[in-house]
Point group: C2
């Protein structure tokens, strides 16, 4: 695109974005195509740290994987910029020589990855240019989004802290921000107004419903006070139901684990199985009587809630952060104020229908549902495609 055509294209972009009701079906007066139902060219910008999907724990990489495959299924032309080792039906472009799981957030790698992806996006010719960048990679893409012509959509994956709120206050206007829960959006800095929420997606085929449950309750997560494994133990002990604890003990958390958790582990009523993944994790969720989420922090999402519900496993959660949106009280589980109420709710779990849980996920978090929501955002920001060239006879 040369300098002379750039300015009008930008003006059209703004007016297209304002037609917020969505699908733009008419051809513009100048003959340019409005991307109404056409497939989109999407540059999916994953982080450089871990391959997509992640071999172990990798929240953002799982989200990117599920969404990418769902967008490909919907007929879009997706290029996935990601760490080596990634597998996808999209066009996979890896930039750095290796993943960097032990250097997460190191500027050297994030900047190298994003700047090179931007350069490759710029190199796409006028007729195969990208319609949108969907950015999941830290901070570099959004902060520099005013320096690339392709519109950038940035999913907010984390909570707003003092540091990230300052960052988004500085740079949030440079792209289209999408939040993942109402709780997260409510904590956004004033004036930011992200779109959404669009929840994190799940591939339902990987999480089959299991109606016939085992006898145990499940707690899964990082071993830390705000995640509440000690409270899960207290609730399960109070009603003498077996509890399985799964998750990692991160550096700095061994003392908490040794003091608050280890003394309760007896291999029978309270079991600890460490980190699980893959089919073992899915089976663990599917056969649990219920998932306990006695958290005490403003968690912006709760992927484990969605995974449990997908298997037809109800959830009992404290009403913190996004749990109030992901658990429908009395329908897919219970929202309870404290450990005592959690213990009481365990007895009510048979009232919850496994298929109700599955249906809620299917309607709200299924990969295709989430991809359709993002597709609407992408169409609202995409620039019109240039008109096909007319060949005139002399």
């Amino acid at each position: 695109m040369d300098a002379l055509t750039k300015a009008p294209a930008r003006a059209r972009r703004l007016s297209a974005a304002r037609e917020s009701s969505g699908r733009l079906t008419r051809r513009a007066d100048d003959g340019s195509e409005r991307l109404a139902d056409a497939s989109l060219r999407i540059a999916m910008l994953a982080p450089p740290w871990i391959s997509v999907p992640s071999p172990g724990y990798g929240g953002v990489e799982s989200v990117v994987s599920t969404l990418t495959e769902a967008l490909v299924n919907r007929g879009h032309d997706v290029t996935l910029f990601c760490a080596p080792g990634s597998v996808s039906r999209a066009t996979v472009v890896t930039i750095l020589e290796e993943p960097h799981p032990d250097a997460i957030e190191r500027a050297l790698f994030e900047v190298d990855h994003v700047a090179e992806a931007f350069d490759q996006i710029d190199l796409a010719g006028q007729h195969d240019r990208f319609d949108v960048i969907h950015d999941h990679c830290g901070f570099t893409g959004l902060a520099m989004a005013n320096r690339i012509d392709t519109p950038l959509v940035h999913t907010l994956h984390g909570p707003f802290t003092a540091d990230t709120a300052a960052f988004y206050a500085h740079h949030g206007h440079k792209g289209t921000l999408v939040g993942i829960s109402r709780a997260q959006l409510a904590s956004a800095p004033r004036g930011l107004e992200p779109l959404g929420p669009i929840p994190n997606p799940i591939d339902l085929r990987a999480w089959p419903t299991q109606a016939r449950k085992g006898d145990y309750l499940l707690w899964i997560g990082r071993m830390s006070p705000e995640k509440g494994p000690h409270r899960a133990i207290a609730a399960a002990r109070a009603v003498d139901v077996p509890l399985v604890l799964a998750g990692v003990i991160q550096p700095g958390r061994q003392a908490f684990f040794d003091k608050e958790i280890a003394p309760h582990i007896d291999g029978d009523r309270v079991r600890f199985i460490g980190e699980v993944g893959g089919a073992a994790k899915q089976s663990l969720f599917a056969h649990a009587r219920g998932l306990l989420m006695p958290i005490r922090w403003d968690e912006p999402f709760g992927m484990v809630i969605v995974e449990a519900l997908a298997c037809g496993t109800p959830v009992i959660a404290f009403p913190e952060g996004a749990t109030r949106e992901l658990v429908v009280d009395g329908k897919t589980g219970f929202l309870v104020a404290d450990v005592r109420a959690m213990a009481d709710a365990i007895g009510q779990l048979p009232r919850i229908s496994a298929s109700d849980c599955r249906t809620w996920v299917s309607q709200n978090c299924d990969g295709d549902v989430v991809a359709a929501a993002y597709e609407g955002v992408f169409r609202s920001v995409a620039l019109p495609r240039p008109a096909p060239k007319l060949v005139l006879s002399a």
Copy 2:
């Protein structure tokens, strides 16, 4: 600058850069000013981690401080983008709320700082626009330098490792790179060809010569095998001369210190004084009989060598990395192959003249000398200023 004038300006920039001999004295045919002897508008981009100059150890911040003050002295209009708490005679612009000494290289802060600085640089009007960005801040500025109109000069502060060499191979062409030693330049990835070397500067007023020395030898640095404190002890012990060790024990180095260093400390022949700064550090350097640098790594520069020589204190170094350039064998100290030769050279220290040491620094690393060298680089990349507007009577 509008889109129509941008392309010709860029073409002029390339031809100006090719006149590599330096000062451009003629007015161009179109009347634009060629910045011949005019003062430059320089955006000095310091890191966001530590204030300038650093209150404690801060290699890059000290370099930026000395160079900035020297450029101001030479009449240039310098704006220093830096961490809060910085002090300079330049225009000081701080971006983040606080320094982040414990989050060095964290992408969130580096990207926030650089992207905001770029935005402010872009906002400068046509007639007070910056001529050049001098970038000392990690990786973000260089990787995005093709996305800002102001030319960017990037000083290479670190060694080339596998990771940084890959980064510079990807993004080095986007700015003008300047190395700090021939040893560093020799290890640059093929095809990179940085300018220089331009050594790190020192403010000679802060390091007065001391001709009358004490009886001790000095070793200063991080406590690590490649820096060789254990070798300095062996050399000093061999000729029974007192040794003062100064420096930090970084995380992970306690075992090395406990095993190789601590057993030798006796408070008399071998003393350990921890980290020193300010006037105490200058006095320590000035009164030493000599500085020992028995290093075993490809160090890209050696600021402590320059600091010692500035005080008239000679240096005995292993010929590794930049020591071969910073020590003139037999004139400002000795380059020796091993501990045995280092011990022998200690006896030769009286042959070295304090004023020869000082003179070498004055001629090579003085702030004004270094600033003049950078000024040449800046002039070679700066875009011509727009011609003054002619008002025609109708």
